[in-house]
Symmetry: C2
Subunit: 332 residues, 2 copies
């Protein structure tokens, strides 16, 4: 559902229009009246309320299926209302319950506004961490555990060691153990969810020129490369720290299946530079598949007909493919 | 000249071949025998020794002109020799003297190996700083003074606030005064050297999402945006700190003429991701035009015929254009 005052409901209607005949059935956990409003605006057939995911396949080709949630407050596009925050959170919990019990193959989350949810008592930095906690309290599995945030776009898959922290804290928050663990989660996800039997991971350096033998920073020598050595000893194919400015060039991109970046902008600059509209976000190391569009709620353009569904469509496609890959991997 | 054991001499021969009929005459300050060796390897006419830049125009269309320098030690491709370091440095000094006295329009520097020059007593972090010092001791001018490093490539112009320092030191090395000064140098260079009458500068944030109102880092509020306000009050068109991951996307790139990035990889990742082979480096705020290819000495591939001259050719073209722009600006 995401924030109902954002672009989520509108791009969901657009995504249904694009995908309804492409064999990737999905349904919305959200407000039925709002879904009908946007369908009407886009001259689409009226969305249909459902009571169970089992109804989706027969409806999807002709109507957007909606598992309905009531909203306490009226929705005004671009004006988020804390009164609706509990319903936004409930939609995430509902989706997680459905995917954890095998009723659906994956979940895709529309953008939320953290500050709106914070006002309602939500205590997580974002979807990624909330889902990590919901998953942790529900299951007991043998795989390296996330959550690890990954961005995909422009032919790149980039996982992040650190995400929403000040740049000055990045160096101190890195340690060899954490890099080893994150790379294990990434390696496992590339095998299970991306169908790559022998993944090749490229590891970013922290400093200019990856420190140039310690002359421009020591973390490559003291923290990062020891993690890479330990990982290779476990059979994981990962490079030593690479100069991150040269790592995303066209010919280098063909030498790896994913990059492990050390901080937010190091990973997101290349993805968004190459593909701003079609990039997606996915959470690795959960007991289920979760993807999301790689943009915010878009309050400034909500309800104006100018939102682009590219990223949500890419997120829905990726979720379907990753879910199929994981099922096939786990059967084998 | 650059390091004679690197790819410099070879890409110079290739650049001459490409440019000899394109109206951008240049000459090499370097070793004549070495130039003849690479010309021979590429089946080119024999380079011709000159004693003054005035001879260049009549020779350039048919032969590479070379202002010859003797090398004390024999050159072995890929094996730099400290014995030749003084000659490498002398070629830079010679070029600077020629451009400062108006004998040539611009200088282009082939890559040097800092560690080789350090062994010979060279005490500068690189070309940029050395040229800054040579220029400072020779002149007295009214323009905002560099050196400021700028990379151009993939349709981007990116100037850097900090360059070869560890990432953990970046935040502490920023201050409002330095940002103001660097942006003034950049603004002036865009007008004088790039021929842009009303330059628009985009300013990068330091933290994820440019700090998101101080929730992920405070430098945008305390240091960076105050500099931008002060600059706008001086009539310079510069944005407040922007989220750097979104700033280099295609449609954003059309909204500015240059970006001021705060650290090495923030600026170099987008340039090299979009255009690895054709990017160039230029030093702003000097009393003369200086460009260089945006790559190193390439010792590993020197003498093997696989070096690509794209970046040197782009650097030569840019130097010619920037020099013409500055002359035209200063006459007006």
């Amino acid at each position: 559902m995401g924030d109902p005052a954002g672009i989520g409901p509108e791009i969901t209607a657009q995504a249904w229009e694009y995908l309804h005949d492409k064999g990737i059935p999905f349904f919305l956990i959200g407000n039925l009246e709002l879904a009908r409003h946007y369908a009407d605006q886009h001259h689409q057939p009226e969305p249909v309320g459902i009571t169970s995911p089992e109804e989706v396949v027969s409806i999807f080709a002709s109507h957007l299926p909606v598992l309905p949630l009531n909203l306490p407050a009226p929705v005004r596009a671009g004006k988020p209302d804390t009164a609706n925050a509990d319903t936004v959170i409930a939609s995430i919990e509902r989706a997680t319950k459905l995917v954890m019990t095998g009723k659906v193959g994956a979940i895709v989350t529309n953008p939320i506004a953290k500050s709106v949810l914070y006002d309602a008592g939500f205590a997580h930095p974002g979807h990624t961490e909330f889902l990590g906690q919901l998953a942790a309290s529900w299951e007991d599995w043998q795989h390296p555990r996330g959550p690890v945030m990954m961005l995909c776009g422009g032919g790149l898959r980039v996982a992040l060691m650190t995400v929403h922290i000040p740049l000055k804290d990045v160096a101190d928050s890195l340690d060899t153990k954490a890099i080893i663990h994150t790379a294990q989660v990434l390696d496992q996800a590339l095998k299970r969810d991306f169908g790559i039997p022998h993944p090749r991971i490229a590891l970013c350096g922290l400093n200019p020129h990856a420190g140039e033998d310690g002359t421009m920073g020591k973390e490559e020598i003291s923290i990062i490369n020891p993690a890479a050595s330990a990982l290779r000893a476990q059979g994981i194919s990962i490079t030593d720290a690479q100069p991150s400015d040269a790592l995303f060039r066209k010919d280098a991109r063909e030498t790896y299946d994913a990059v492990l970046a050390l901080y937010h902008d190091q990973g997101l600059i290349p993805v968004k530079t190459l593909d701003f509209h079609g990039g997606i976000n996915t959470t690795l190391g959960l007991p289920f598949i979760r993807t999301s569009p790689d943009h915010g709620t878009g309050f400034a353009i909500a309800g104006k007909g100018s939102a682009r569904p590219d990223s949500l469509i890419a997120a829905l496609k990726a979720a379907a493919l990753m879910s199929a890959n994981r099922q096939s991997y786990d059967r084998a």
